[in-house]
Amino acid sequence: MSHAHEHAHEHQDATPKALSATGKWGMVIDQDLCTGCQACVAACAMENNLSFIGEDDVAYGRSMQWIRIERYWQGEYPKVSMTDYQPMMCQQCGNAPCEPVCPVYASVHSASEDLNVQVYNRCIGTRYCANNCPYQVREFNWRDWPLPEPMSNRLNPDVTVRQRGVMEKCTFCIQRIHTGENTAAAANRDVLDGEVVPACAQACPANAITFGRIDDPTTQVAQLAQDSRGYHQLEEMNTLPRVTYLKGGSKHGSNG
C-alpha cells in the first residue's frame, strides 16, 4: 500500500503544480471533504459492470473495485487518529509503469484522450501490469464471477462485461467521456466544463471529487489542482498522475 499520506504532510510547501497541468482529463479529490461513505465505490460498481466476488475471494485479496477508500491509523489509544479517507483509483499516469511491461499491448496509452486504457480482448492475463502498478489499482478477474438472473438486467450496455483471465481498472468512465464528446461534436462545440462527470464524482454526497479538462486552465478541476493543499500520490516515482489530492485538516481560508 502507498505511503502517500506522509507525503501529504511533506509537501505542504512544495509545489507539485507543474505536473498537474499536463494530460487531458484530470481529477481532484478533496480529502477534507471525503467522508469515506463509499457512495463512489457503489456508483462505480453499478456504472462499470463490476463483479461482486463473495467473502472467500475478498479474503484472498481479489476484490474487484476500481475505486477504494484507504485509511490508515496513527498512534495508540487514546491518542489515536485516522488519516484522512483517501479514495484510490487508477491515477491515469502520464508515465505509467503498467504500460511498458505488457507483452501484448493490452495496457496502452490512448493518444486521443491521454488516458491509460486497458484493451480487454488483447489481455492474456500475465498480470505484469498489476505487479508493476505502484498504486495497486488493477483488478484481475480470477473467475467468471456468477451473476444470477435477473441481475444482468442492470448491466450498463456502454461498458464491456469482462471475463475470467482479464485485467481491468478505472477508466475515468471513458464511456461518459465519449458520450460527452459525441454530444458536443454533434452540436459543433467543445465539451463544456462539468459536462463529463464520472460516476464516482456524480454520486459523491460531499462533492469531494471534481473532474474535467486539466489542460484548460479555466476549468474548475484545473484551478483546484493548483490549490496549495494539492499533492500527487507517489509523485517521486515520476509516474505523472492525473489525479491531484487536496490534503485535509488545515485551516480553511488561510490558503494552507
Binding site: L33, V41, E47, G61, Y77, S250, H252, G253
Partner: protein, 728 residues
C-alpha cells in the same frame, strides 16, 4: 452485423488475403456483405442509442432522497441523485446506488404465495391475485376491527396514509410504523426531548453548514442518521462552504465511528454519560458567559461528570472555551446518547446547549423541519413500548390478523421483545414483502409489493430540506415479477367488501388515491409549479420527482435556561466487564444485507466485508489473549452471539462494538451468505422514559471459544494464501 458469420466462414475470409477477391465471390451472399469490425471498437466507444430517465424517490431508507434512474429498453441501469430534490440535490449514498441490486434481486418473491404454513421456506408463487384480494377482504371484514393490526415501515408515506384512512374507516387501531434505524436513532426520545426543551415534539434540523463549532453526541450524520446525504452536504459546506472559515467538529462517542473519524476531536466517553458531560459543559460555558451558571445547568457536577465519563477535567475546560468562543456553536444528540436509561435527560441536556449558544433559528443552529404539505403532523415511528403493547396483544391472541409492510420485524425488532413467538399466536399473518425475509418466512401469506423502483407513491421528508416538500415516486420499469402494489390490493379488497368501507375509500386504485391526496397542492401558495387540474399537476409531479415550495419555512424553536435539568447516572443491564456499543452498519443500513454489492463494499473504518465483527481495543484483546479473527462468545442478560474479533485501535478499552445489519437467517442468498450475527439479539427489553429501548445500556462478557473465523477485509493482511496474522 445483420447476419451471423460462422467460424468456418471467418477462417475462409481471413485466410484468403487481399489478392483473393475473386475467390470471395465463391462465398455465400451473406458473407460477401459482412463488415468485420475490430473489437478494439469496444462498447465504451459506441453510442448505444438514447436512454430514458425517470425521476423517483429512493426507498432504501425513509429520508426521501430523489433519484433519477437511467433506463434503456425497459431495464433500469443506473440510479443517480435528482438534482432538483431539495433533500439530496443530485447526490446519493451507497445504498441509493445499490438499490438496483434489490430491484433485480434473484431472491424476490415472484408472485402471491399461500404458504404451506408459518415457517415454510417455500416461496413458489402458488396463488392468484384474485385469491389474494379475497384473503385480504376476508381478513378485513370477518374479524372485529380491534382484531386487525398493521405494522408498516417508515416508507412509503402514501401507503401509510392509505392504511391510516383504512383503519379509521374500519374502526381498527392506527397502524404502527417501525424500522431498525428508528430504534437506533431513538426517534421517540429525540421527539420528547424536543417537546421538553423546545415545546414541540417535531423533527429538528441541525444546520451543520453554518456552524463554527459542532458538538455531536454520537450523532452519525455522515452514516445513516435520519438524512445522511443532506447532512453530508451540510458537513461539506461546514468544512469548505465559506472561504473564510472551516467549521470544527467534536464527536463524543465510545468508539471512533466513520463520522468521528472526520471530526477534529474525538472524545471517547463512557456510553450513557453524554448528558452529564453536556450539562457539565453547559455549567462551565454559562458560568464563563454570565458569571454564574444558568439555572438549567445548576445541578451539573463537573468533577463527577469527568469521573463517570472518563473525560479529563482539562478537556472540559478546553471544550467549554471552544464552544464559548464560537460565533455559531451547535450541539446534536445522536441515537447512542438517547438509547439509554437516562436517554431523555441526555437529550434535554444536549438540546439545551443550543439554547445556551443562542443558535435557535439562527444560521448554524437548530430549526424545526418544515411541516409536510400533506398533513402537517409528524408521524413518529413506534417506540419499544408501543411495539411491546402490540406484541402483548398478539401473544394474548387478541390480534387475529396482522398485515406487515415495509419492515422485517422478525429481524429488526430485538429478540428480547418477543416478536417472533408472538407472531405464531396470530391466526393470519399477511406479509407484503418483496423479498423472502425472516418475517415472510413466518407469515401465512406473502402478497409481494413492487420494489421502490416499480412503485408509485410519495414520501414526506424527515429533515434536510428547508422547504416544505413531498418527494414523489413513479415506476421506472415495468414490474419484473408478478407483484402488485399493496395499495392496489387493499383498495381492491375495500371495493370487494363494499358497504360503508368502500364509500369512505372510493379510490379505485393507487394512482387515483395519490392524485386525490395531491389535490390540495394544485394551487397551493409558493409551489414551484401549479396547475389548474390534476393531470397537468401529475405530469410535473412525475417529471420533477415531487413537489416543494420555493422558499424555506424552517421553524424557530424557543427555549428557556431557567428550568433546572437533572441528569441521572445511566443504569446498565448485565454485570459483564464491557459496555456494549451497537451501531448501524454505515454501508448496509437496516435492510441492505440482501444486496450483494453492499455486502461487498468494505466498512469505512474496519474495511470488513460480508461478515460481522466485534471491535475490541488491541490492549484489551491482548490482555484477554485474543487476536484478530478469534471467535468470541459475547453474552448479555438477554442472549449471546459468537463473532470474530477485530482489534480496533480507536475504541475505549472497556467497550466493545458490534455493527447491526447482518446475521440473517433468510432474506435471500446474499443476506444469508453474509455470515454475521445480529447484535440486537443481545439487547435487553429495558426502555427509557420516552419509551425507546435503552439499547446502549448493556454490559456484556467476552468468552474465548478457541475457534477462528477469518474476516474478509479489504485492508492488507500478511499471508492471504493460507492464513497468517500480521507480526506484532
Amino acid at each position: 452485423m445483420s447476419e451471423k458469420i460462422s467460424r468456418r466462414d471467418f477462417l475462409k475470409i481471413a485466410g484468403t488475403g487481399a489478392a483473393a477477391a475473386t475467390v470471395l465471390t465463391g462465398c455465400g451472399p451473406a458473407s460477401r456483405y459482412v463488415t468485420r469490425e475490430p473489437y478494439a471498437k469496444m462498447p465504451e466507444y459506441t453510442m448505444n442509442g438514447q436512454s430514458t430517465y425517470y425521476a423517483t424517490t429512493c426507498r432504501e431508507c425513509a429520508a426521501g432522497c430523489g433519484l433519477v434512474v437511467r433506463t434503456m429498453q425497459g431495464r433500469a441501469l443506473k440510479t443517480e441523485g435528482n438534482k432538483y430534490n431539495p433533500v439530496n440535490l443530485g447526490k446519493t449514498c451507497a445504498r441509493g446506488q445499490a438499490t438496483l441490486d434489490g430491484l433485480y434481486n434473484p431472491d424476490r418473491v415472484t408472485g402471491p404465495v399461500k404458504k404451506s404454513g408459518k415457517g415454510s421456506q417455500d416461496f413458489t408463487a402458488n396463488a392468484t391475485w384474485d385469491a389474494a384480494v379475497q384473503v385480504v377482504t376476508d381478513a378485513l371484514t370477518k374479524n372485529k376491527p380491534a382484531e386487525v393490526a398493521f405494522l408498516l415501515g417508515l416508507a412509503p408515506d402514501h401507503l401509510f396514509d392509505l392504511v391510516s384512512d383504512l383503519c379509521t374507516a374500519l374502526g381498527a387501531p392506527a397502524p404502527l410504523r417501525y424500522g431498525a434505524l428508528s430504534l437506533f436513532e431513538a426517534r421517540a426520545t429525540l421527539g420528547e426531548a424536543a417537546r421538553a426543551v423546545f415545546g414541540k415534539p417535531d423533527l429538528l434540523f441541525f444546520d451543520l453548514a453554518g456552524a463554527d463549532v459542532t458538538f455531536s453526541f454520537g450523532a452519525n450524520f455522515l452514516e445513516t442518521w435520519i438524512s445522511p446525504v443532506a447532512y453530508t452536504r451540510g458537513f461539506a459546506n461546514m468544512r469548505r462552504g465559506n472561504p473564510n472559515k472551516r467549521g470544527y467538529l467534536v464527536q463524543f462517542e465510545p468508539r471512533m465511528s466513520q463520522t468521528a473519524a472526520k471530526a477534529d476531536e474525538w472524545i471517547p466517553i463512557v456510553p450513557g454519560t453524554e448528558g452529564m458531560v453536556a450539562a457539565a459543559l453547559g455549567s462551565l460555558i454559562s458560568e464563563a458567559k454570565f458569571g454564574v451558571a444558568s439555572a438549567a445547568f445548576s445541578n451539573a457536577n463537573v468533577a463527577k461528570a469527568s469521573q463517570l465519563s472518563g473525560v479529563p477535567l482539562a478537556t472540559f475546560d478546553h471544550l467549554a472555551k471552544l464552544f464559548l468562543g464560537a460565533a455559531h456553536a451547535l450541539a446534536i444528540p445522536g441515537g447512542a446518547a438517547l438509547g439509554q436509561t437516562n436517554g431523555l435527560e441526555n437529550g434535554k441536556a444536549i438540546l439545551t446547549l443550543n439554547a445556551l449558544a443562542g443558535n435557535l433559528g439562527q444560521p448554524g443552529g437548530v430549526f424545526f423541519t418544515p411541516a409536510s404539505p400533506l398533513g402537517d403532523e409528524y408521524h413518529r415511528p413506534a417506540n419499544a413500548k408501543e411495539l411491546g403493547d402490540l406484541i402483548g396483544q398478539m401473544k394474548s391472541g387478541s390480534i387475529k390478523v396482522l398485515f406487515i409492510h415495509g419492515v422485517n420485524p422478525v429481524f429488526e425488532i430485538p429478540q428480547a421483545l418477543g416478536f417472533a413467538p408472538a407472531l405464531s399466536k396470530v391466526p393470519t399473518v399477511i406479509s407484503f414483502s418483496s423479498f423472502q425475509d425472516e418475517t415472510a418466512v413466518l407469515s401465512d401469506y406473502v402478497f409481494p409489493d413492487h420494489t421502490g423502483l416499480e412503485s408509485f407513491g410519495y414520501q414526506r421528508v424527515p429533515t434536510g430540506s428547508g422547504q416544505s416538500m413531498l418527494s414523489g415516486a413513479q415506476p421506472v420499469v415495468a414490474p419484473v415479477f408478478d407483484t402488485k402494489a399493496t395499495a392496489d390490493v387493499l383498495l381492491a379488497a375495500v371495493a370487494k367488501a363494499g358497504g360503508s368501507l368502500a364509500s369512505t375509500l372510493p379510490s379505485k386504485h393507487e394512482v387515483e388515491y395519490i392524485q386525490n391526496k395531491l389535490g390540495s397542492l394544485l394551487t397551493a401558495k409558493d409551489g414551484f409549479y401549479a396547475a389548474s387540474e390534476i393531470e397537468s399537476f401529475w405530469v410535473q409531479f412525475q417529471q420533477f420527482g415531487g413537489w416543494w415550495k420555493n422558499t424555506p419555512e424552517l421553524g424557530t424553536p424557543t427555549a428557556s435556561l431557567d428550568t433546572p435539568l437533572t441528569v441521572s447516572q445511566p443504569e446498565y443491564a448485565g454485570d459483564g466487564d464491557f459496555y456494549l456499543f451497537p451501531f448501524v452498519s454505515p454501508v448496509l443500513g437496516e435492510a441492505g444485507a440482501n444486496k450483494p454489492w453492499l455486502q461487498e463494499i468494505p466498512d469505512p473504518t474496519t474495511t470488513v466485508t460480508w461478515s460481522t465483527w466485534v471491535e475490541i481495543n488491541p490492549k484489551t484483546a491482548d490482555a484477554l489473549g485474543l487476536d484478530n479473527d478469534d471467535v468470541v462468545l459475547i453474552t448479555s442478560p438477554a442472549g449471546s452471539v459468537e463473532v470474530s474479533v477485530y482489534k480496533y485501535p480507536a475504541i475505549r478499552p472497556d467497550t466493545i462494538a458490534i455493527p447491526f445489519g447482518r446475521g440473517h437467517t433468510a432474506y435471500g442468498r446474499y443476506a444469508v451468505q453474509g455470515q454475521g450475527v445480529n447484535p440486537a439479539d443481545l439487547f435487553n427489553s429495558q426502555v427509557n422514559p420516552a419509551g425507546d429501548l435503552a439499547f446502549g445500556a448493556m454490559k456484556v462478557t467476552i468468552t474465548k471459544t478457541g475457534k477462528q473465523r477469518q474476516l474478509a477485509r479489504l485492508e492488507g493482511i500478511l499471508g492471504v494464501y493460507g492464513y497468517a496474522t500480521p507480526a506484532k
